[in-house]
Each structure stands twice: as C-alpha cells, then as structure tokens.
Subunit: 594 residues, 2 copies
C-alpha cells in the first residue's frame, strides 16, 4: 500500500501499489476533472507531484501515473475545476432497494432418476420459480452448471433472470447511472450492495460533430435511418468508452454491471434509443414516447451485462425530459413544504414550480447564451475565461486560471450585464450608451470602452494588450440582445408558472438551481438583472448535478424509480408557444431593472 | 389466366399467366416433391408437359417453368413421390383463434393543444391500451404515422405490439408452421385469416454435413460455441431459404409472416435456439429446457417479421421432443376413446400410449435401421430402391421408379425380414441358414442365394446382372442383426408402456403410425416380424406428418397451443435405460415369430 495526500484539500488515502492517482483521488473523495474518460488524451487531470523522489514537482496525468510509494499531489488550482468537481455523494438518504438481486444456489445433480432439465432445476431452486425463460442464458447454462459443480449465483430483476454465474459472486454487484447531456455525458459507477459511488467518468457528447444543440442533431437525424443510427452509435460508443475505462480502473468486469438508469433531455433519450426524434423539432413538438422505457443492454449495444435492464426515466414533454424528472426526484420537489421553483438552464431552459400538490413545468429555448453560445467572445468556463466583472470608474475582471483572458464565460456574462446595467453603459431597454448624449454621463474610462463598429456598438471588457489573443475582448450590442432575450424568456416562463399556480414571487419559499448553471452563476448578479425572481439570496441554492443524482437514486431504489414515473405523470406541462400570455410576459421581462 | 391440368390425378386449375407450375400445383392441391425449396437445383420437381405447342412432351422443372397458355402436365410416376406427397389439409376441425390480431386505427392528429406522444396516441386507440413499449417499432413510428395520414394497422400478439403498418392491411396475415426433422425440414405457410395452408416447402436439414443422426450433431456442438453456432446457422439459413422461396412464389413479403410455431425432436429444438445440447447425449440425458419457448424472430435471425413470436412447442424429455407433442396434439391422443398407441419411428423411435386419462411416453435409439442407415445396401425410398419383396421358391422384388434396383429402402427391408423369416432363410433367432443342415431344407434357388463371405453370412436379394450398380444387392447377417435390434427395442418399448399402463396388447384400440415410417411401411410385414403388436390390421393406421400437423394447429389456435403444453405436462416419460425390465423385454422381443 502507498499513502497519497491531496493538496489543497489535505486529504490522505492508502491505496494498493500500482493504483493510478485518479483511483486514489476517487478513494479519497477528491474529484479530478477529465473529459477523455481516463484515456490520457485530454490532459485535464494534470496534477503536480511534490514528494516523489524521482519526479519532484513534476506534472503528470492522474489517470496514467501509477503510485508505487507515498506521495503528495497538488491539484491544478483552476477555480473552474474546483467548482466543477462532482461530489462523491453517499446518497445516504436512500433506503437501498435496487431491482437487482443475487441468489446463491446449490442445485442437486441430475441422475437417471432425476432428469429435470437444467433450466427447471435452476428456477425451481429460486425463492420464486415463476421466472421467464431466457434463451441467452439457457445457451451456456449446461456448461456453467457443470463447471461450478452445480453451485451458482443467479442474478434476478424481478421475474427476469439476468445471469447465472459460477460459484458465489454475491459480493460483486454494480450499476451505472448515466446522464446524457447535450454537451457532456457522465457515467456514475455504483456498488449496488452498499449504494456507494465507486467512480465517475465523463466525456464530451460525441454527437457534437453533428451540432452543438439538439435542433441541429434532430435535423441530422431527420435525414434518414443511417444518420439516426450514427447519432445513436456516437452516444453508445462514447458511453462504452467511459464504462470500459471505469471497469479497468476499478478492476470490474463490464458484465458485472447489471443495471443502468439513464437521464437526458427528450432528444437525448430518443437518440440514445435510436428512436426518430424528427417531430420533436417543429411545432407541435411531438415526442415518440413519454413513459419510462426499459430495454436490454444488448439491444442498444451498451457494454454492460447483455441482459441488464437499461431504464430511461420518463420524459414529460418534447423539451422537458428525463433529466428534469431526475431533478424533481433528487430535489424531492413534491415533498418540500411551500412553493419551490427549480431551474435547470443549460443549452435549453427547463423550469419546475411545485407546491399545493401540483407540479408545473415549462421550457424555453433561451438557454445557450448563458453558456457563451452565440456570444462573440463567449467561451465555456475554463482557464482564460473572464468569470467575474466589477465596474466602478473602469472595468475590473477575474480570470479563471493563472493566465491572460481570452473570452467570457456564463457567470462573467451575467456579471457583465448586471454591472453595465447598473453603471449606465446600457439603459433599461438594453441599448449601449453609444450616442454622445448617453455616453457623456459615464466616467471617462468607460466612455473610452464604448464604440461603434460596422457590425454595431460594442463595449470593451479587456483591452488587446491584456488578453491572450492580442485582441480586445468585447461585449457587442448583439451579445447583449442575446442575453436579454434569454433572460426575458426564462423570466417570462417563471411568470407563467406562477400565474398558473396562482401565486406571487414573494410566496416562493426557495429557488433551486440545478446543473452547471447553478454552480457557475453569481446569484447576486442573476438577481440584479432580473433573471431570478427578487428573493432574499439565502432562498436561492445550487443543487449540483441533480439530474444525475436522480438517476443514481432510481438505480439504487425501485421505489425511487417508481416515484420518477409518478412525478412525470403528475407534472402538468405548460406549452409556452401555445399561450397568448407568454409573449406579453416576455416583452415585459426584457428590460433591466436599475 | 391459363388452365393447367395435372395427370395422373386429372385435376385442373386456372392460374394467372406467369405462374410457375409449382404454384399451379399448390392451387390444385397437388404436391410436387422438392428438396431445394424451389431454387431449381434439386431436380426433384421434374414434370412432363404434354400439350404445350412449343415444348410438347418436354421435361421441365415445375418450380422454374412459367405458364403462359393452357397446358397439361404429367407428374413423375415415381410411387415414392406419390406416397411422399403431403396433403394440403384444410385443418377444418380447428376453431381459428391465432394469437395474432390486426386492428385498423384512425388516429387523431397532434397539435399544440394535443401533444400526446406518438406511442401513447397509438396504444390509446387500441381496444386494450395496456401494451408494452417496443423500441424497434417506436423507432420508425413517427414516419409511418405521418406517411399514412395517421391511419395504420396495428399487429398484436396479446399485449405485445408486433408491427404498425401504414393503411389497412388486415386482409394479409400469415404464419409459418415449421417441422425441423433430423433429416428433412418442412415449412408450411398458412393464411391466419382463414386457416388455409397456402404453400409448403422442404429441404434436407443442412446440418447433415455434421452427421446424419442427432448424436453426431450433439458431439459436434459439444466442441464449443462456434460449432454450436454453425449448427444453428445451418438450420436458420435453410429455413430462411424455404421461406424466401415460399414468399416469392406466393407474392408475400416475409415481414407479413407474423408468427411461427416450431416442432422438432429435443436436439433439433436445442440447436434451433442455439442452446448447448451437450448433455442430451450421455446418460442421464439432460435437456436444458422442457417447456414451450417463445422468442422474437430477430433473436434467431429467422427471416419473418423481426418481432414475430417464434414458439417452440414443449419437449417431454431428452429423446421425446416437441415433434412428439405435435403428434399427440394432432392425433388428439388424450381425447380418443380406449387405448391408443402412437409410434413415430424415424432416426429415433418415439412411442406414446394413451388411455384411462394417462399419457405415457418412451423412446429408443433403435430407429435408423428402418430408414436404411447402418444397412449394407440400405438407401432412402427413392428411384431404384427395392420397396417390396416376396419369397416363394425364389425372390421377387418391386423397385421404385422405372429403373434397375440399386439398394433397399425401409419398407423393402421389413418385407425382406418378414419373408426370409417365413421361408426359413433365417431361424427364429435371426441366424441365416448358412450351415448345410439348415440350408438343405430350403428351395434350391434360395440355397444358391445364401453364402458365407469373409465378413460373415449374406443372402442375395438381387443378382449383379439385374442391378443398376452391377453388384449383387445383399442382406448381410449384420444387417439382419441391426434390424433385429431395432425391432427388439421398439417392441420392448411398447411392452414397457403397456406394463406401465397395466394392459394387454389385445386391449389396444388403435395403433397410429406417424411420419414417413407410417407412410412407407407395409403393415402386414411389420405385423409379421412382430414390430407392431398383433392386432387386426384395420386397427393400424398411418396419420401422415402428424408432428407438422400439430405445429399448424398450434399456429392457428392459441387454445391448441395451450393444449400442447398441457399434453407435455401430463405426459409421463419412462426412461427405458433406467428400467430393469427393459433389457428383459428387449431380449424376448429379438426373436421372429413364425
């Protein structure tokens, strides 16, 4: 064994010699960013080794470097990575009741006086012999029974036999919770015997080559069976890559993963199953299915046990998917007292309002600007991103990582909007103070930053000499309009939910921010620009990857999985495009409060 | 239309121009032998055209020759082909209740006010919306609904949707009854709307290259997963060949075949499903499964509708399979008054004794000699086979077809044994009268036919100058022993069944002979050698391919399918190898009654 100490958290853990630093980190409850699934290609898991005699102060990839003596490791100080790290939750609040059960069976041996067929011999030894015949398992059953001297472990999901394994394998029982985001796919590997998350892997959704948003992917899928299959293959291959790595890292055979629960938006759910999503795109936005779907892993080519049940949690509507149901489930949104608003704003914006026994949902397509999409110098929250802005007489900004800025990420954009609105660089209608009579009231250094170009007005956030790219980083009038439209759509959605529920903003007991958005955003700025309802800041909280947490819960507990279906059935979806009052609220919500 | 008249049956039929003679024959209820499934390669369907101006008196292949004007066709006069022809039964006694149902649905079209997903829209229009989600069907559902303006036909098997077809397709609904024999595989194509057999195709079981009997095939399969897969592939490919031909001939899309029911012996059932049959071969002869199995066609690669339920009727024991259950079902063996003995003697011999509410079964491995296997000049019943023998002062024989003899088929062998036993060429113990003191009592011409060789004694049936091969056709002492052992095993099996039932031979009300054996055998000869119990000949009847008839019944009626399972469950199997009394009866049954 070797002791690995992680800084700055100062956590230590003992691991077997030959373990990777990534494995040690998982054991220590420390998350290290990775987007290549541990293949050593993305470079994101770079860590600094301090005490290793041979490589003092050297930089290595945590997923590749193997520990052979005690050492101390310093994680990259990127605030981004720190914020992004996923908690290795204990999921302690759940009563473990996975659908997978293992039974150790000692069968009597056949003789001329006892010619019972192998299959019947097996099932009659089960607590409940009322199980369905499975051809896949029957195929190898005779050899397995005789190789193991008729002592086997049967793996069951209800009345379905999933596997028959030689000997006693009860101590090994794994499951996968899978969150298929439009941008990133995450696999959580769980031990179904104790509910622990053993490891986590993530990759960029490989469908990205067919477009960053769901609409481009739907358009591609709509071209025919082959494009649809390509999209499905990309997701499945990507997931198989993560699973293979996790299994290798944890010394697990992929056939020991007996169950998977999947969340994702409605389009991702369709594409994961290879189901034509064409009619999700145009109004009236019709999905093919809504309820939870269960298929065998081999039907999808997912590299876990062939017969493992893969459950996709239910969707609610074309743009409110299983990921939103996952949020509802993990937030226990139906059980919280009073009124709860939950927002999951990624590429798309999904909103939930629960209270008085009702669960309302709606969605708007107005999210991507907050992730930096469609924004001239927008970028994802990574090293070099301006993540915070302060404006007094001039502009101050904070950059992620120890580097010059080369763009603005979501939280930076919201900060920027809040600050330029407060300082008068834009007016309440969102117009830049380019005209002389508007501009002259501003401090001189801000005036210098405002200018007119051929493409329209813009405001300089960072001057060329300060930036990584050697170009000015600016916020254009068009960028501001994008953010304004996004904010307007979300605020209007929230207004419609509250109108439907018959409550005022002040009656909200809490606002839950799910996913990356909740992790990045500065609540103060979001409140200042009117993106969030005007509430005391302590009522607003980030709840992390709540969709993935919901998948984990459904994986560990059949009761929770059933609750997911109940929540989806109970949800009343408001189709905003069908409502006369949405446009009105939207226009109202476009302006910036001073 | 063109009129085709078949001789010697003198049956006429009108068919569309361009139909093949085979198609006309099916329409006329005339069966033409074929083993290539209509590919034009086996040459078995050769017929003579009499009145066609262009090809007067020409020989053509019925499966290839297309009719463009009225003509008269003479079938090959081979008695063999005549006897082998399968009846195109009406199966009139069955109340049609197939598991497949078609429903025409006119769905409402989606709108922003009616965003119900496609799948739910579909199932809610069904008489019972409680159906399982099917990913395969969901994949193409959106396009099918929209291409057909939301008018579709749903194909259901109970709570399972098998297909959704555009428009109204209720008039087209087909099924396949499949009989997988160790030697020959037969597919019956049925119209599930009216219960008619539309067409029949047969090929030699392509597993034959791995051995003629089940034991050699089990031995091959036991070598590992790849050999097992080869055996399965051979069966599936062979069946797909027949199905493709039948579909082409009948202008049916293979995806319009929604259901298949399969019978075969236990080994064939295992191999059809790709299930390891290794432990069927050695004692204690343990099958993997016994009950009926239902799988989707695509799981087997069977080229009918992907989702079609393929049902293998239940087995009873390692050597009493679904084919025997098919015999029980079509003979309604449990419903006949008194006591019924049914024998299905092919490569293996299966026996059923029913009466007093009981159904007993047993099997012996002693069949193949009757099919000419292990016999020096044995051959299958085809042109050139000696099929009948009469001995007075000398030997007279009857040959199948207009040709010189080149072997002896099953019925000829039984005749031969009966005649040489009656004439004293063999004694009651089966020994050839080679010794001078035995021989001298025989007529001189018979004495000449008896001789001693290095391999032992033999009796000449046909002299070299009379034969096709230019060699004597003989019956060797070893041949006689083989037939004696086979007869002994079958008689002993029948004895054991009757002992178990507690009845005497005279109490039997009928003996049913299933399959080829029943068609070929001369009852008189079989009675004379003691192969059948000594009963009035009118109590013995051949019932044709009763196993295949059972498959057709189960295909056309869910009640009959359930009855198959009930019959299999009720059957009490007697494992002869485990019985002390079997050897005793066997020895007793070896001798020939004078």
């Amino acid at each position: 064994m070797a002791k690995v100490t992680f800084l700055p958290a100062n956590k230590s853990v003992e691991v077997p010699n030959g373990s990777t630093i990534s494995q040690a980190a998982v054991a220590a409850g420390i998350a290290i960013e990775s987007t290549c699934g541990g293949r050593g290609t993305c470079g994101k898991c770079k860590v600094q080794i301090l005490s290793d005699a041979e490589r003092s102060a050297g930089w290595v990839l945590a997923c590749q470097y193997r520990v052979h003596e005690d050492l101390t490791v310093t994680l990259s100080e990127s605030k981004d990575a720190y914020k992004r790290k996923t908690r290795l939750e204990q999921l302690n609040s759940i009563v473990l009741s996975p659908c997978i059960h293992k039974y150790l069976l000692q069968l009597s041996k056949p003789s001329v006086k006892d010619q019972i067929p192998d299959w019947e011999r097996l099932v009659e030894a089960l607590p409940d012999p009322n199980v369905c015949f499975n051809m896949q398992i029957a195929r190898n059953l005779p050899k397995i029974l005789r190789q193991s001297d008729f002592q086997v472990t049967a793996v069951l999901d209800g009345h379905t036999i999933l596997a028959v394994e030689p000997g006693d394998t009860r101590s090994r029982c794994f499951g996968a919770a899978i969150d298929i985001g439009t941008t990133t796919m995450v696999v959580y590997l769980l031990d179904l015997n104790n509910g622990q998350v053993i490891d986590i892997g993530a990759v960029t959704n490989p469908q990205r080559v067919f477009g960053a948003d769901v609409i481009s992917r739907i358009s591609y899928a709509a071209q025919g069976a082959e494009p649809l299959r390509q999209l499905q293959d990309r997701v499945i291959d990507g997931l198989n890559g993560i699973i293979a790595h996790l299994c290798q890292a944890q010394a697990i055979d992929s056939k020991e993963i007996y169950h998977a629960v999947v969340v994702g938006n409605t389009t991702m759910s369709h594409l994961f199953l290879g189901i034509d999503p064409t009619y999700l795109a145009p109004a009236p936005f019709i999905p093919v299915f809504r309820k939870a779907v269960e298929v065998e892993a081999r039907e999808l080519g997912l590299n876990i046990l062939d017969t493992a049940p893969v459950v996709v949690l239910p969707n609610i509507a074309g743009y409110v998917g299983a990921d939103t149901v996952g949020v509802m489930l993990s937030a226990k949104i139906d059980l919280l007292p009073g009124f709860t608003l939950a927002l999951d704003i990624g590429t798309n914006g999904e909103m939930i309002l629960a209270g008085q026994g009702r669960i309302l949902t709606c969605s708007t397509a107005a999210g991507p600007a907050f992730e930096g999409a469609e924004i001239k110098h927008g970028m994802r929250a990574a090293d070099g991103a301006i993540e915070g802005i302060n404006i007094t007489d001039d502009v101050q900004y904070v950059v992620i990582g120890d580097t010059k800025p080369h763009g603005i990420c979501g939280s930076g954009l919201i900060d920027a909007i809040a600050e330029i609105a407060a300082s008068g660089v834009i007016n309440a209608a969102g117009r830049l103070a380019i005209r002389a009579k508007d501009c002259e009231k501003l401090p001189p250094l801000l005036q210098k930053r405002l200018r007119q170009t051929e493409q329209g007005g813009e405001f300089v956030i960072a001057w060329a000499q300060e930036t990584e790219t050697g170009e000015d980083i600016v916020l254009t009038q068009k960028d501001i309009r994008e953010l304004q439209l996004a904010k307007g759509a979300i605020s209007a959605g929230v207004e419609i939910l509250m109108t439907e529920m018959g409550i005022q903003k002040e009656q909200l007991d809490r606002v839950l921010l799910a996913g990356a958005f909740g992790n990045y955003i500065k609540k103060e700025s979001a409140l200042r620009i009117g993106l969030l309802p005007p509430l005391p800041i302590e009522k607003i909280s980030a709840i992390g990857n709540a969709a993935g947490d919901g998948a984990k819960m459904a994986l560990l507990s059949t009761e929770e999985r059933e609750r997911a279906s109940v929540l989806a059935d109970r949800a009343e979806h408001l189709e905003l495009s069908a409502r006369m009052d949405f446009q009105e609220q939207f226009i109202k919500a476009l302006s910036f409060p001073r």
